[in-house]
Structures are given as structure tokens and as C-alpha cells.
């Protein structure tokens, strides 16, 4: 059996099965080796161009297929899993580790899925794995948050499945050669804006993917569920679900304009809610939404450069978001506190964590010499290029200009929020009196490794650019990425939004608050409405019905004839008469249908 016959996801699933068999050091040796093995296997498959086919219901499944964006995503998923394993090493969380392998295996499976059914199956595997990770967080609300998370993703999955069925059925009717193919819906994009039954399938697929990407109105599951993971669990969670959704959107819906609007909304939403957040990991979840918004904008613009930008940004984002969550996770692990208001002054004793957090924060804001700069600026450039192309053609493109300005505003905002504010409140501000040391060596090692990647990709962007979907465009862009003008734009914007933070510090006091989101509707409004309006109403109806039944002749007598205990014990004798009545009613219905309808 050749290496290329082995689906990379299978390596990780095998890991999930094997890990419980090992103990102590061996478990971690195996857990660290497997993601690297999966990485090697992924690249073997990618170089081979691997394609395997399995017959399924008269069609073919393609579980190992290499999309243009597969190399970037497969690589980062494997690296991420290895980093997460290293980070979690000191804390023996067996269930979580196994679930993480299932979860990452699902993500890797999606990255190699050549058909819609394979994609869907791995998609649901991810939902299972991630739900278990949330549950094993053992925080206060882990169980409830996990349930809400699962419910949300189950519904998203149903939409996705339904969409797939509709699309495949339509393709079968059109006699498509490969009805299950998972690729760009280019043939359907023309009639895109028109929402109707004929492209309902595509819309449902889009909705299913967007739920996982955290797009509005379903952004709130990210800040709801992820902070409930354990210190290592949240690191795993941040990496796979949303980025897999980005991958699938990139494959299937590149160039779909609506993604731009959703992306802009997410970018601003993430900052606005992030500024108000007090739970440090929830703040990072809001900025996660903000960053995924940038990726959606890149996908929505749909030029080669913007797609490269979105893919590169997903890669860079996984690394620095994991880094940020590792750093805040270390603070949580060492102090047991997660509210920004309760922290402060930790720069004295946690220097490594502080510098890692700063590097992560600079990366997320796209500071020069970090990975965020070299990836995000591609999307920015692509917006400008596309705008001038459309201006030359005389097509409407104002939305691109607005997008560009809002994009830059959100970039300034995320620096203020996820870099300056986080660093300031955790490591400086008032002295909280806490003197925790830096975390154990493995957590430090994982953070330093990821911080190193952030800087590496910032200084040598070519490493990442050469595995992007469109390497030509990326290589072209590499020549101008560090122009003085680019650098000064970022420095000016970031520096002065940081100044704005300190000027506004008096009104940025932290209290123990959360801020309501759309999930209020199903977490509070609907349950309350049910309990306080609908249920009493139903009870009233019930009483009325009982009163009517009581008033019917016969029933009272029937009950009176039986000694009460037997009446209770033998069940309700009345029960037979209702079905019998229904039988007669149905006969009547059939007679009416048979005699009346044909004569109409």
C-alpha cells in the first residue's frame, strides 16, 4: 500500500483510536508524531495529485481530492493539531485529546473532500468532535454551551444536507457527469441573486457553511461556546470549525458578492462586541469573528489575489489566534481568573507569556513583520485592484470602496481591542497582586513555536505564498508587500488607534458584564414566551376541552360504574371510542374524496 492511498484524515482517526491505548509519555509521543505523519501523508497526496473513487448509489465518491486551496489548509490543520497537542501535554485530558483528533481529522477530511457527501460526513464528524471538546471543558456552563453549540451546528448541518440533496437531484436530472462533485458553483453563479426554488439547494448549502463560519445572524455561537472549553480545548476549537467553513466557501462560493457584506458586518461586529468584552477568551472569540469576516470579504471579492489573501489569512490566523488563546489560556491556568477586571500587573512574573501575547496581538492586527501583515494586506490590495478594474469597465463598484474603508477601520479597531487592550489589562493596568509564574515548559514551547511562525511568515512571506492556490499572483504580490507606503499605512493607523485606547481609558472600565446578542432570542425570549404565554394558554385550552368532555353524556356514568382504582389501573376505557370515531371519519373523508373530487 502506497502512502498516497492513505487518506490523511484516516491517520488522525487512527490516532483517535490508538491514543487511549497509550499512557503517559508514550501517549504524547504518539500524539505529537501523528499530526506530523498526517502532514507528510497530506503532502505525499498533494504531490501525487491524489484522486480515489468509491462507487456510491450509482455515483462516485472522491474522498481524496486536491483542491487548489487544499495544500494551505491541510498543512495548517496538521501543524495546528501538533501545536495544540504540545500545549495540552501537561494536562492529561484523555477524552479531549481523542476528540481533538477526531475533530482535526474531520477538518482534514473536508480539506481533501472531492465530493459533497464526503464533505458532509466529515463536516458532521467535526461537529461531534468539537461538541465533545466543549463538554470536556468542565467550566461552569460547558454542558449547556455544548448543547447550544451542537443544536446550532446540527441545524446548519441539516440545511447543508438538504441543499446537497437538492443540488445533486437537480444535477442528476440535468444528466451531469459527476453529480456529487464538490467544486465551485460557477454554473449557478449567474442566476445568483435570484432566490428561488431552482437554486434553493445552493442557498441552503451556503447557509449551512455560513453557520459554521459564524456569519450573522449566527455569530454568537462562537463567543458563547468557545470560552467554555478548557485552556487547551479552546485552542483546538478556534482553529478548525470556522476555517473549514472558510475553506468550503472558498472552494464553492468564491466571488459571491453577498459574502462581502456578511464579512464587513462580521469585521465590525467583532470589534464592537470585543471592546465591551470582559472575559479575555470571549474577547478573542469576538476578534475571531472579525478575522473570519476579513476572510469572507476576500472570498467574496473573488479575484485570484483576494482568494490567495483569504487562504493565506486563514493560515496566518489559525497560528496567531491559537497563540493568543494559548497565552490567555496560560494566564487562566496560572491564575484561575478570566475576567480582565481581576487581572493586571502580570508583566513582572509572566514575561514569556506577555511577549507571546504581544506577538500574537501584533499579528492579528496586521503589524509589519508579522504574518497578519503579509496575509491581510493581500486582501486589501485585491479590493483596490478589483475596484480599479471595475472602474475602468464602468461597472458599479462603490461597495468595494466602502468595504475598503470599513476593512481598514476594523483593522484599526482590532489592534485597539485584541492587542493593546488585552495586553494592557492582563499585564499592566493596576497591580492585581497576583504573582503567577510562566506556565510549564510545554505550554511555553508551544507558544514560542507559534510566535516564531508568526514572525517567520512576516519576514519571509514567500514560504506561505508558494503553497497558495494561485502562486503566480502571490509571487507577483510578494515584490510589493513591504513597500514603504504599505508599511506606513499600517504603522500610522495602528499606532494612533492605540493612542485612542489610552485616551479613552477612563470610559473603558471593566465590569462583570456580558452583552446581549441575537442568541437572546432563543436563549431567553423563546423559553420565556413558552413558559409565560404559550403554556398558560395551552393549559386554558386544556381546561376548556376537559369541561366540554365532562359535559358530554355518558362519560361520567362510565367512570362512575368502575371502582376508581381499577379505572386508574386499566387505563382510560374511553380511549377506544376516539379511534373508532376517527375510523368512521376517515371513511367519510375517503368517500367524499372519491365521489366529490372527480366530479369537480
Amino acid at each position: 500500500m502506497q502512502m498516497t492511498d492513505l487518506p490523511p484524515a484516516a491517520v488522525l482517526f487512527a490516532g483517535a483510536l490508538l491514543l487511549p491505548l497509550f499512557k503517559g509519555k508514550w501517549r504524547f509521543a504518539v500524539a505529537l508524531a501523528l499530526p506530523l505523519l498526517a502532514l507528510a501523508d497530506s503532502w505525499a497526496v498533494i504531490t501525487e495529485g491524489g484522486a480515489s473513487f468509491i462507487p456510491f448509489m450509482g455515483m462516485t465518491l472522491q474522498p481524496v481530492h486536491v483542491h487548489a486551496a487544499t495544500p494551505v489548509f491541510a498543512t495548517i490543520f496538521c501543524i495546528m493539531l501538533a501545536g495544540g497537542v504540545l500545549f495540552s501535554m501537561n494536562d492529561d485530558r484523555r477524552v479531549e485529546l481523542t476528540a481533538a483528533f477526531v475533530y482535526a481529522g474531520g477538518a482534514l477530511g473536508v480539506a481533501f473532500a472531492g465530493d459533497l457527501v464526503t464533505m458532509f460526513v466529515f463536516w458532521e464528524v467535526m461537529t461531534l468532535g468539537s461538541t465533545i471538546i466543549i463538554w470536556s471543558g468542565r467550566q461552569n456552563d460547558s454542558y449547556g454551551a455544548g448543547l447550544r453549540y451542537f443544536g446550532m451546528h446540527a441545524l446548519g448541518g441539516v440545511a447543508l444536507l438538504m441543499g446537497i440533496i437538492i443540488v445533486v437531484t437537480q444535477r442528476l436530472h440535468e444528466g451531469a457527469a459527476d453529480p456529487l462533485a464538490f467544486g465551485h458553483f460557477s454554473a449557478m453563479v449567474d442566476g445568483w441573486s435570484h432566490l428561488g426554488w431552482d437554486n434553493a439547494g445552493m442557498w441552503l448549502i451556503l447557509v449551512g457553511m455560513l453557520v459554521n463560519a459564524g456569519a450573522p445572524p449566527f455569530s454568537s455561537w462562537i463567543p458563547d461556546a468557545y470560552p467554555e472549553g478548557s485552556t487547551s480545548g479552546t485552542v483546538f476549537l478556534s482553529a478548525f470549525t470556522t476555517k473549514t467553513a472558510v475553506f468550503t466557501l472558498l472552494v464553492a462560493f468564491a466571488g459571491v458578492e453577498v459574502l462581502i457584506y456578511l464579512g464587513v458586518y462580521m469585521a465590525i461586529y467583532g470589534v464592537v462586541y470585543g471592546v465591551n468584552a470582559n472575559n479575555m477568551r470571549r474577547l478573542l472569540c469576538y476578534s475571531l469573528v472579525n478575522q473570519v469576516g476579513f476572510m469572507l470579504i476576500g472570498i467574496g471579492v473573488g479575484t485570484k489575489l483576494s482568494i490567495d489573501g483569504a487562504a493565506a489569512h486563514a493560515f496566518a490566523h489559525i497560528v496567531y489566534k491559537a497563540l493568543l488563546l494559548m497565552a490567555t489560556g496560560s494566564v487562566l491556568a496560572m491564575t484561575g481568573k478570566f475576567r480582565l477586571g481581576e487581572l493586571g500587573g502580570l508583566y513582572r512574573t509572566m514575561p514569556v507569556t506577555m511577549w507571546c501575547l504581544i506577538i500574537g496581538g501584533l499579528s492579528i492586527s496586521g503589524f509589519p513583520l508579522t504574518s497578519g501583515f503579509t496575509s491581510k494586506s493581500m486582501v486589501v490590495q485585491a479590493i483596490v485592484d478589483e475596484s480599479s478594474r471595475m472602474a475602468a469597465l464602468g461597472e458599479p463598484h462603490t461597495y468595494l470602496i466602502v468595504t475598503w474603508f470599513l476593512f481598514q477601520a476594523a483593522t484599526a479597531g482590532v489592534f485597539l481591542d485584541a492587542c493593546v487592550k488585552l495586553t494592557w489589562f492582563i499585564f499592566f493596568q493596576k497591580d492585581s497582586g497576583l504573582r503567577p509564574p510562566d506556565p510549564p515548559w510545554n505550554m511555553k514551547a508551544a507558544m514560542i513555536a507559534f510566535a516564531f511562525i508568526c514572525i517567520l511568515l512576516g519576514v519571509f512571506p514567500g514560504i506561505l505564498y508558494q503553497i497558495l492556490p494561485y502562486q503566480g499572483e502571490a509571487a507577483e504580490y510578494a515584490k510589493v508587500v513591504y513597500s514603504l507606503e504599505h508599511v506606513m499605512v499600517m504603522l500610522g493607523m495602528l499606532g494612533f488607534s492605540g493612542l485612542a485606547f489610552f485616551l479613552l481609558l477612563p470610559i473603558l472600565k471593566r465590569g462583570s458584564y456580558i452583552h446581549l446578542d441575537i442568541d437572546w432570542i432563543w436563549r431567553r425570549f423563546i423559553p420565556r414566551f413558552w413558559k409565560e404565554v404559550l403554556l398558560p394558554l395551552l393549559q386554558q385550552l386544556d381546561n376548556a376541552q376537559k369541561a366540554i368532555l365532562e359535559s358530554l353524556p355518558g362519560r361520567g356514568m362510565r367512570d362512575a360504574n368502575l371502582p376508581p382504582p381499577i379505572a386508574r389501573r386499566m387505563g382510560n376505557m374511553w380511549a377506544v371510542s376516539v379511534p373508532v370515531f376517527l375510523i368512521v371519519l376517515m371513511l367519510l373523508v375517503y368517500l367524499v374524496v372519491y365521489f366529490v373530487i372527480p366530479t369537480l
Binding site: P55, M57, G58, V117, F120, V121, E124, Y143, A154, L155, V158, L161, M162, I165, I166, T169, Q170, L172, H173, W197, A200, R569, M570, G571, M573, A575, V576, V578, P579, V580, L582, I583, L585, M586, L587, V589, Y590, L591, V593, Y594, F595, I597, P598
Partner: protein
């Protein structure tokens, strides 16, 4: 050997009948199960052979004349891909559940009545196989009564566990008899109009009658149509199609575990088969759907069955009853499939007959193990059993995934075809109902799964995993339901054959 093979269609019905009679009169305890097991195993072998024979025939039918009397004077048995499949379902489930029944029944039925129990068990299977194979409308009624009467008694035998089994049985007797009676009245009307009892013969004689209706002098119009109405209602009741499902939940809930499994996986399936047979072969689908709009009535009923059944399932606290209501919803899927009357729809129906029999049978068997080990099937009895009975509960969960229709389970295949069929007919609202049904199924399955794996037990009962004789049949059924979700070539092939056969005989 050739003699046996030639007489297979008769033997498959007569064998359990004769052995059943013998079982009821033998005195030795413990022998009953062996006789039932042997008979059902032989029945399985015969039905497999019959299916192979049918598929080998050019016209896909095997005819058999009882006592060589030619139809319409004698009783003719006729096997085609559709009823060969249903025969396979009944005898397969019959054999596997009999294998399981030994310990389970011994723990739920008094030892003195065991032989009697297995006699009834065989009579029930006789009736179900007979309904499936017979080509005679009146003979179908007789066999319907054989299976029903034995079923009533089997349900009542749950009385030693719970007295409610008696009311459930009485309820079932009343409703079941009315249903059978309606069917018989329908047959009588048709006999009046056509003078024949053979299904194929009636269909043929109906043609001139149909033809006369548009003219000045319609013949027997009211008679025939009234007959159809009676038959449709009678069979809807046997099929437990909403709103005539009233007898089902209690009968399934309070019957002994093995009986619940047998009923859930075969009885309603045979009812569905009989309905399909009456619509497609006897009335003729073009007439039944095209002119009489039976399809509209069926779609409304089955759509309501899916929604109401699933909704009621969510509200149950007894898991057996929950599965019973879920069955009502699943019957909705089956009826919806053949109401659509296109190839995908009938394929979906037949596949779902097969898949649901395996899935629900497996789940009832898993619950039977809970009954055997814990002594109850309320949600509270299942709390935290995930650790105590890992294999059983794993099987139950896998079955639950099938009910939802998760890909790689057989439920997915059925729903795939069903949704395709809805879309093909442009019935988006029905496709949406199927979808909503899946979401509701997710909710009710989740409720149980949550209890199994996350529920905390107050009483630390010391239960062990079930004996192999119960575990193996459970795993066979659940395993098969997963297997046919991964490799659906066998089920889609035979269901496709059945669909082709039914649509070809369109008048």
C-alpha cells in the same frame, strides 16, 4: 429437492402453520422455542431462494396454484420482486428476533405458557407471510385475521409485566377487527361488481367497468368506489397510518419485548405492502391516483403522520412508546413514498420498508435487553446505562442515528430517495416536511441518547451486559442497518426492481 423448490410459495406459508399447530399441542417445555427457531430459519432460507428465483425470471414473477386449481376458481399465489422483498423482510426479522426471543420471552412470559406463546408466534408469522404472498383478495383477509388474532393474544401476554397490556390488547382487538372488517366489506363490494376474488382477475374485470363510467350507462360506479373507500380505510388502519394509529403506541409499549420488535419491524410493513398491492395492482395506479386522488389523501395523512408522530415521540417518557410514535412517523415516510408514485418514491418506500424494519427491530431488541437487565424502559431506567451496557446502548444509538437519517446509515438512503422523489414531483412542501421530520427525530433521539450517556443514576444498580443470545441478534440488525447505509447496492437494486415492476403494471 425439485419438488420442494417448485412448492416453495406454498411451503413458506404452510410450514409455520403446521409447526405452529404442533407446537401448541406438544407438552414438553422448552421445545417450543426450538421449533419456532427451526421453522423461522427454514422460512428465511425459503424466502431467499424465492427472491433469487423471482429475479431470475424474465417477467419477474413466480405463479403458484393451490391444489392446481386455476385462478380465479382456486387460490393463486404470485411472487414478484415487491412481495419477494417483503417476504425476505418478514422471514429475516422473524428468524433474528426468534433467536433473540428465547431468554427475553422466558423472563417476561410464565413458563407454562411458553409453548403456547411460540405457537402464536408462528401463526403470526404465517399470517404475515401469507398476506404478502397471496394473490387472492379474500385469502388475504383470512390471513390478515390469522396474523391479527395471534397478535392480539401476543400483546396481551405482556400482562405479567404490566396490566395495561390487557387494555392495549382489547383496544387493538376492537380497532383491528373494524379494520379487517372494512377490508372485507370492500372485497365484498368488488366481488359484487366483478364476481371475482383474485386480485389480478379483479383488476382485469374492472377495466370495462372503469371504461363505462364516462358514458351514459355507468356500471357499478358507486359500488366499486365505495368498496375502494372501505378497503383504503381498513388498510390504513392496519398500516397505522395517521390518524388511524390509535392502537399502535399502547400495543407496542405493553407487549413483551420480542413481540414489540416483531410487530414494529414486520406487521406494519406487511400492512404497507397490502396497501401498495391494492392501489397499484388491484385498483390500478392510474385510476386510484389519477381519477380518485387517493394520492392526495395519502400525502396529507403521511405528511401529518411524520410531523405529529415525531412531535408526540418527543413528548414521551417511556422509550418504548417513544419508538412506537417514531414508527408512526416512519410509516408516514413509507406511505409518502408510494403516494408519490414515481420510481424514486416507490424505491424509497420499499427501501424504507427494509431499512426501517432493521433499524427499528434492532432498537426494540436493544430496549428488550434494558427490560431484561433493568426491568423497565422509562427514560429514568436508561439513565447512565451508557457505561453499564456499552454494547447495547451503542447499538441503540447507532439505530437512533438511522432514524434521524445521518449519512452512512440506512435511514439516509431512504430519505435521499424520498426527497428526490418529492423534488421530482415538484412537491417542495413535502420535501420540507421530510426535513422537519429529521430534525424532530434528532430531538427525540437526542433526548434518549443524552439520558443514556449523561444521565446520573440515583440507584447504583449492578447490571451486566446482556447474554450473547440477545446481544448477537441486536447487533445483527443494527449492523445490517449500518451496512445497508454504506453499501446500498443490494437494497437499491431490489427496490428498483420492485418499483419497475409496479410502474410497469400500470393499466
Amino acid at each position: 429437492m425439485e419438488l420442494i423448490r417448485h412448492n416453495l410459495p406454498a411451503l413458506i406459508v404452510v410450514t409455520p402453520l403446521v409447526i405452529g399447530l404442533l407446537t401448541s399441542i406438544i407438552g414438553r417445555r422448552g421445545l417450543g422455542w426450538w421449533m419456532a427457531m427451526g421453522t423461522t430459519a427454514a422460512g428465511l432460507a425459503m424466502s431467499v431462494q424465492l427472491l433469487v428465483d423471482v429475479l431470475a425470471q424474465g417477467d419477474r414473477t413466480v405463479e403458484y396454484l393451490m391444489g392446481n386449481w386455476p385462478v380465479p376458481f382456486g387460490i393463486g399465489y404470485s411472487v414478484d420482486p415487491l412481495n419477494a422483498t417483503v417476504l425476505l423482510i418478514v422471514s429475516l426479522l422473524g428468524a433474528v428476533i426468534t433467536l433473540y426471543a428465547r431468554k427475553s420471552v422466558a423472563s417476561e412470559v410464565p413458563a407454562g405458557k411458553l409453548n403456547f406463546f411460540y405457537a402464536l408466534w408462528l401463526f403470526c408469522i404465517t399470517g404475515l407471510l401469507g398476506i404478502t404472498i397471496t394473490g387472492d383478495a379474500f385469502n388475504l383477509y383470512v390471513l390478515l385475521e390469522i396474523s391479527s388474532l395471534s397478535t392480539y393474544t401476543l400483546v396481551a401476554m405482556g400482562k405479567d409485566r404490566n396490566r395495561r397490556a390487557l387494555t392495549a390488547a382489547v383496544n387493538y382487538v376492537v380497532l383491528g377487527s373494524i379494520g379487517a372488517c372494512f377490508y372485507l366489506v370492500g372485497v365484498a363490494y368488488l366481488y359484487m361488481a366483478t364476481g371475482s376474488l383474485n386480485i389480478a382477475d379483479i383488476a382485469e374485470r374492472l377495466q370495462p367497468i372503469y371504461a363505462s363510467w364516462g358514458t351514459e350507462a355507468p356500471i357499478y360506479q358507486k359500488t366499486v368506489i365505495t368498496g375502494f373507500a372501505f378497503m383504503a380505510v381498513g388498510l390504513s388502519l392496519k398500516l397505522a397510518l395517521f390518524p388511524l394509529h390509535g392502537w399502535l403506541p399502547n400495543a407496542y409499549t405493553y407487549a413483551p419485548s420480542s413481540v414489540s420488535a416483531l410487530l414494529a419491524s414486520t406487521a406494519t410493513k406487511v400492512g404497507a405492502y397490502a396497501f401498495i398491492r391494492v392501489i397499484f395492482t388491484l385498483m390500478g395506479v392510474g385510476f386510484a391516483f389519477g381519477r380518485l386522488h387517493t394520492d392526495v389523501a395519502l400525502m396529507v395523512c403521511s405528511g401529518a403522520a411524520i410531523l405529529v408522530g415525531s412531535w408526540l415521540a418527543i413528548r414521551q417518557t417511556n422509550v418504548k412508546k417513544l419508538l412506537a410514535y417514531s414508527s408512526i412517523a416512519q410509516i408516514g415516510y413509507i406511505a409518502l413514498g408510494f403516494a408519490l408514485a414515481n420510481k424514486d418514491g416507490i424505491t424509497a418506500s420499499v427501501i424504507h420498508l427494509f431499512n426501517h424494519a432493521l433499524t427499528k427491530g434492532g432498537m426494540f431488541l436493544a430496549l428488550g435487553i434494558v427490560m431484561y437487565r433493568v426491568g423497565g424502559t422509562r427514560l429514568s431506567d436508561l439513565r447512565g446505562l451508557g457505561r453499564k451496557l456499552p454494547i447495547t446502548m451503542g447499538a441503540f444509538t447507532a439505530g437512533g442515528l438511522g432514524l434521524i437519517g445521518v449519512p452512512l446509515t440506512s435511514g439516509f438512503i431512504s430519505k435521499w430517495y424520498l426527497v428526490s422523489a418529492c423534488l421530482e414531483q415538484g412537491r417542495y412542501e413535502l420535501a420540507a416536511i421530510v426535513l422537519v421530520g429529521s430534525v424532530l427525530a434528532l430531538v427525540y433521539v437526542w433526548r434518549v441518547v443524552e439520558t443514556i450517556y449523561f444521565g446520573k443514576r440515583e440507584d447504583e444498580v449492578n447490571v451486566r451486559e446482556a447474554p450473547a443470545s440477545m446481544l448477537v441478534p441486536t447487533l445483527i440488525l443494527v449492523g445490517a442497518s449500518i451496512y445497508f447505509g454504506v453499501d446500498s447496492s443490494f437494497t437499491t437494486h431490489i427496490a428498483g426492481e420492485a418499483a419497475d415492476f409496479l410502474l410497469k403494471v400500470k393499466p
